[in-house]
Amino acid sequence: MGEKLIVTPSPHIKSPRTVKGVMLGVVISLLPACVGAVVLFGMNALLILITSVVSAVVAEALWQRATKQEITVGDFSAVITGLLLAMTLPPGVPLYVPAVGSVFAIVIAKQIFGGLGSNFVNPALAGRAFVLAAWPMSVAGAWLNPLTHDAVSSPTPLAVLKGGGTNIPGLWDLLIGNRTGSLGETSIILLLLGGLFLLVTKIIDWRTPVGFLGTLFVGTWIFGKPGALFQGDGLSAILLGGAVLGAFFMATDYVTSPVTPKGRLIFGIGAGLVTLLIRLWGGYPEGVTYGILFMNLMTPIIDRFVVPKYYGYEHDARARKSAEGKR
């Protein structure tokens, strides 16, 4: 007998998909929007992106070196964290903001808990929430005009809406990203391109972004206009702010979102609701960050209570009882 019989525990069916492969896919899907950010906002955007990614990767490598672990920066997860954090920042922030944010995201939000797969909040969003709390003026006020790159003191479209105004850019400008906003959130078409790539390659589940954006659309349509129901501008609501970026690239993070399909739908809807709550009635113009962070906290509970049906499960309580008796 030439062949050995190897006995191993399950699982026996392996997928060619690896952590590195998935992460690389996400990086590729983010690239068009990053290029768009550099075209729209110029060298500033490029510098912020580079600073953020380099600090994230260096922080991860140094931490793993210091704690004598295997250095895993080659899996691109730190690159994604850096890219996503940079994309949520305004193009005019001083460079220490993305640097500090990235280090916070990698070390405090991720590595302390045991590295990739152990963090309970999305590292990039935790980093953003941290720098937003630390330097509120420079993170919420350093906007640049697209293409002309001059610093503007005029607020973003969402802040205009929050102040009760109605003068926001038209639909086409919103789609190509010709508005003030964070680096990577404005070029909607390029973001959707990346999101579509992730959906087609089945890296992300459609339920989270659809639940998120759908809730935001319907909720804004119903409550968006003060004093009148069903007259809000739902379409602008999902094109403005970081909704598309968050829904496709942050809410779908494997580690911090539920594992079951139904759980993912609940996650998307919940994040949409909190975003809506903060946008319409909260203290901040934008709520995507906090919407996703809040649902990150809820993820363990969702996973605990939203369990798929057993194979052969029946709705009849008596049948279930007898089935449980047999198990």
């Binding site: 808990f113 152990s118 935790a126 929430a129 709390a133 903060i278 009635w281 909260g282 906090y290 809820m298």
Partner: protein, 195 residues
């Protein structure tokens, strides 16, 4: 309107754990398992609500008429500790099942600074008996939401490769700060509508 405002304030905006840093000892100590977290939540909701009532009544009918407001802290500590002991005796005699369900958590609550905290906050806001009770309930619900979420997160840590020096309380405190950061988004929620 005031009811909604106090409720939202207690649960989301002015959450005892995340925004006022009260009741952290039981929050950190009893959040390792969902069962204990749920048990403690039940006990806190029960005691905090009614301790607020008792403390507010004590304030209104004894301290204020006798001009003894400067004795408030000491008086409240005694009133709350006494109240918890009375509740314990009462439950043991009359509702043994509830007493059993709350178990060790009931006496533990005497040490929960959030119970004293909410009573003192009520007095500072001069909420009176009715709204003081509502505020106590809201604060207790917020505290429970916090510990239940945290227990869900913490139960997963058994499977994580956490650096040894950070295990236990250090990591719990870091995690609490990250959760507080996430709740930051609710600050000034409905401020324009309710004021």
């Amino acid at each position: 309107m005031k009811f909604i405002s106090i409720m939202l304030g207690g649960i989301l905006i002015q959450n005892f754990v995340f925004m006022q840093y009260l009741g952290l000892c039981p929050f950190l100590g009893l959040s390792e398992q969902m069962d204990t977290a749920l048990g403690m939540s039940g006990a806190v909701i029960f005691v905090m609500t009614f301790a607020s009532t008792v403390a507010a009544a004590f304030e209104q009918f004894i301290l204020v008429p006798l001009h003894l407001e400067y004795m408030r802290t000491i008086a409240y500590i005694l009133v709350i500790a006494g109240f918890v002991q009375l509740v314990e005796i009462f439950l043991k005699k009359t509702v043994p099942s509830l007493y059993k369900a709350l178990g060790i958590y009931l006496p533990l609550i005497t040490t929960n600074c959030a119970v004293l905290g909410v009573a003192l906050l009520n007095a500072r806001q001069s909420y009176g008996v009715l709204w003081g009770t509502v505020n106590g309930l809201a604060g207790a619900l917020g505290w429970s939401v916090a510990i239940i979420i945290f227990a869900g997160i913490r139960e997963r840590w058994k499977f994580m490769n956490i650096p040894g020096t950070l295990k236990g309380f250090p990591l719990a405190l870091v995690a609490t700060s990250l959760m507080a950061l996430s709740f930051q988004g609710f600050s000034r929620l409905f401020a324009s509508v309710l004021k």
